[in-house]
């Protein structure tokens, strides 16, 4: 089990801010898969808005 995903290395070349942006984005998307039981359409729009906020404000 010595192999590692190349993601960490790829992210290390991007800097902390980008890493945070990527991780937040992916968590929102991957988390949305098993998130609260709201309708898909609303969920997608809400997640998209959250991503937009993260990209714009870094929050």
């Amino acid at each position: 089990m010595s192999k590692a995903l190349p993601l960490d290395k790829m992210l290390s070349e991007k800097g902390d801010e980008f890493r945070s942006l990527f991780v937040k984005t992916m968590n929102l998307y991957l988390g949305s898969h098993v998130g609260s039981p709201v309708a898909d359409k609303d969920k997608t729009a809400r997640v998209r808005q959250q991503i937009e906020d993260i990209v714009k404000k870094g929050k």
């Binding site: 960490d8 790829m10 984005t25 998307y29 898969h33 709201v38 998209r48």
Partner: protein, 712 residues
């Protein structure tokens, strides 16, 4: 995903409610549940029921789901009774333990005849009023799909032959890849890329709007751009002039060196020095002549013209001596004597000082008075006496001596002048000679070099002038640029410009993020093959009965074996079963590895950890001698393994390996009124006990199965 329990209620062969309780996963590293079943008892029903739950598979009854309700339960129902059948699991999930079931509700028309009413996926919720089941609105099904991806169902819930055929026979080329894609929620990554691209496009549209609104800023930016272009041009021009100036200086220096070089060996420098000396001496001779002329003039002036009068000295001397002999020039005339004469008659005294009474000394007085009348004025007397003295030949400062001295000095001066004139002539000749000599050297080349040197110097001077001008322009541009920057900053801080800048930055960030997610998705998926190969080799190679090595196809990710370097897909027996088992266990390990690796980065793709395997017909196609290896393989490879074993496979070899490791045992008892089981199939041995898997019921009753725990 680990089970806490699996429950069946009036579903397929199960009549009533039957629960397979798993050992607490927290207290058991490797749970091995044995389900001992009589033939036709319905062990396959367990996997089919799980497929119905997780995959919403109608199990070949899409239009008559009521057929999934247990026949015996249906037969016992009365008209208008509601008859439910369900499959329920209690599983670990990111939200903790969840109890989920898929239920079929039917209404009994008459005993044995059910009418389908609805199929419901629901989850148990704990509420103050008591637990109740809440119907799914989409999330429960998504959670189930994440726990058991449709494409990987067969790997987690292994039905023996069919899966082995598909894996080794290569009939599921895309299935594994699709299944693995679900491990990382591939579609969510795609959705993330799509969303971020949408955000990027939206920002682009916002930018266009803002750009239009911000004309002033754009103009200012345009001006700044223009200044920057001018500045660049001036800088380039400055550099060009500096290079030109440096070149000119280089040419100048080189000419200097060349001229010196040309002069070497021909005493050019010495010649120049000699010429310089000759010219200096020529000039010095001229100066000497001038000095002599001045000296002669001075001497003439100082001589007071005495040499010109020298011939008259004798006559003047004779005349003056006559005057002196006649006492016209009294040698002893003193100041007091003359004053006394001049004071007469007031003094009433003799010129010798005695008192002369006018009565007694009348004659004397008359004599004195006469003398006074004849005598000359004192100044004239003095002058003439002085002249007399000067004319006397013995006088050192006499006219004669002085005249002679003047003549001598003048002659000296004239002599010096003559010499200087001669010198000047000589040096004039010498200069002429040296100049002629110098002209005979490499005059033309030197002149050319001197011309080049002059031109280089001119160029240098022109460059210096140009550079001064450029410097002024550059300073002005710098000033303008600074001013423009300040104004732009002002606009940036206050207006749409700042938003534009932010939006450009955000757009860039979004673009970079979308590209990265796409790259990352591909990079993660590209790790599947190498990781899977490692894992399958790790499990298969040490137990392979023939020394073959596991091989995972790079494109399909399907398993095969490698013998003597050659890949073989057409394999059977123990190799095939071990390979398939290795492959499915590896897939689960890969799933967990992915989860762990993503978690390390901070991504939580749901709870994808250990998985429960339910394995049916593991030993069926395996030759007797390899059953032991398969049995060994099942122990300790996963956190939860459920092995469904039919009585005919439960031989001594299998039993000896599994019964020791089992920590939970159930039996599926075939309850039937038929005589469809041989006596030896009606019991199964477990730890030296005979376990009944057959129960006789009234022949008029429908057959069914019950699950009962076997105490250990």
């Amino acid at each position: 995903m680990l089970f806490s329990h699996i429950q069946f209620h009036n579903f397929l062969t199960f009549k009533g409610t039957h629960t397979l309780e798993f050992p607490d996963p927290e207290s058991t590293d490797h749970a091995l549940m044995l389900v001992l079943a009589a033939n036709t008892a319905g062990k396959t029903s367990i996997i089919r029921a799980l497929r119905f739950l997780f995959c919403d598979d109608p199990l070949n009854h899409p239009n008559d789901l009521d057929k999934l309700i247990n026949d015996a339960a249906a037969a016992e129902a009365s008209a208008n009774d509601t008859v439910n059948g369900w499959v329920q699991v209690k599983v670990s999930s990111p939200r903790g333990l969840r109890t989920i079931r898929r239920r079929i509700e039917t209404r009994c028309s008459k005993p044995g005849l059910l009418k389908f009413r609805e199929k419901v996926l629901e989850e148990q919720r704990h509420e103050r009023a008591g637990d109740k089941f809440v119907t799914d609105e989409g999330e429960i099904q998504r959670a189930l799909s994440l726990m058991v991806p449709l494409d990987l169902f067969d790997y987690f819930f292994f039905e023996g032959e069919s899966l082995a055929d598909r894996l080794v026979g290569g009939k599921s080329s895309q299935g594994i890849k699709d299944g693995l894609a679900t491990l990382i929620q591939d579609h969510q990554w795609e959705e993330a890329v799509s969303s971020v691209r949408d955000i990027e496009r939206k920002i682009g549209r916002d930018l266009e709007k803002l750009a239009g609104q911000n004309k002033e800023y754009q103009e200012m930016v345009g001006k700044l751009e223009s200044i920057n272009i001018q500045f660049t041009r001036q800088s380039e021009e400055k550099s060009a002039h500096e290079i030109k100036r440096a070149d000119a200086e280089k040419v100048y220096s080189q000419c200097e060196i060349d001229i010196q070089e040309l002069s070497k060996g021909k005493s050019f420098e010495q010649l120049n020095r000699d010429l310089h000396t000759a010219r200096s001496k020529f000039d010095a001779a001229g100066k000497q002549i001038d000095d002599c002329d001045k000296e002669i003039g001075r001497l003439i002036g100082v001589s007071q013209g005495l040499p010109f009068y020298a011939d008259g000295f004798e006559d003047a001397l004779l005349q003056l001596e006559v005057m002196r002999s006649e006492n016209l020039l009294p040698a002893d005339v003193s100041e007091g004597f003359v004053n006394r004469i001049l004071a007469w008659p007031h003094t009433q005294a003799c010129i010798c000082g005695r008192s002369l009474d006018p009565k007694t000394h009348a004659d004397q007085r008359k004599c004195i008075e006469d003398y006074r009348e004849r005598t000359m004025a004192v100044d004239l007397n003095h002058a003439l006496l002085s002249l007399l003295n000067s004319l006397e030949s013995g006088a050192v400062r006499g006219f004669k001596a002085r005249a002679e001295n003047s003549v001598t000095e003048l002659q000296d001066a004239l002599s010096k002048r003559d010499q200087a004139v001669l010198d000047q002539t000589d040096y004039q000749d010498k200069v002429a000679g040296l100049e002629q000599q110098r002209q005979q050297l490499s005059v033309e080349e030197i002149q050319r070099l001197q011309k080049a040197q002059r031109e280089a110097n001119d160029t240098r001077l022109r460059c210096v002038e140009s550079l001064k001008t450029i410097e002024i322009v550059v300073k002005r541009l710098q000033h303008d640029r600074g001013q423009m920057d300040t104004e732009i900053r002002g606009l940036q801080q206050g207006g749409a410009a700042s938003q534009i800048i932010k939006l450009i930055s955000t757009q860039k960030k979004a673009r970079e993020l979308a590209e990265f997610i796409e790259e990352a998705r591909i990079a993660v998926k590209n790790t599947f093959h190498s990781k899977l190969q490692d894992l399958v080799s790790q499990y298969y190679d040490p137990v392979a009965p023939d020394g073959s090595k596991a091989h995972v196809d790079k494109s399909s990710l399907l398993p095969a074996i490698r013998v003597d370097g050659e890949v073989r897909k057409n394999i059977g027996g123990a190799q095939r079963q071990l390979l398939v088992l290795s492959h499915i266990v590896s897939l689960a390990q890969l799933r967990k590895w992915l989860h762990d690796e993503l978690s390390k980065i901070g991504i939580a793709p749901g709870r994808i950890d250990e998985h429960c395997f339910v394995l049916d017909s593991v030993f069926g196609p395996v030759a007797d001698e390899f059953r032991e290896k398969c049995a060994e393989f099942l122990v300790g490879k996963a956190r939860q393994v459920v092995v469904l074993v039919a009585s005919q496979q439960w031989d001594e070899t299998v039993r000896s390996r599994l019964e020791k490791a089992a920590n939970k045992v159930y039996r599926l008892v075939r309850c039937t009124g038929k005589e469809d089981l041989k006596p030896e199939e009606r019991t199964m041995k477990f730890r030296k006990k005979e376990i009944e898997v057959f129960r006789r019921i009234n022949p008029t009753e429908k057959s069914y199965t019950v699950a009962e725990e076997v105490s250990l």
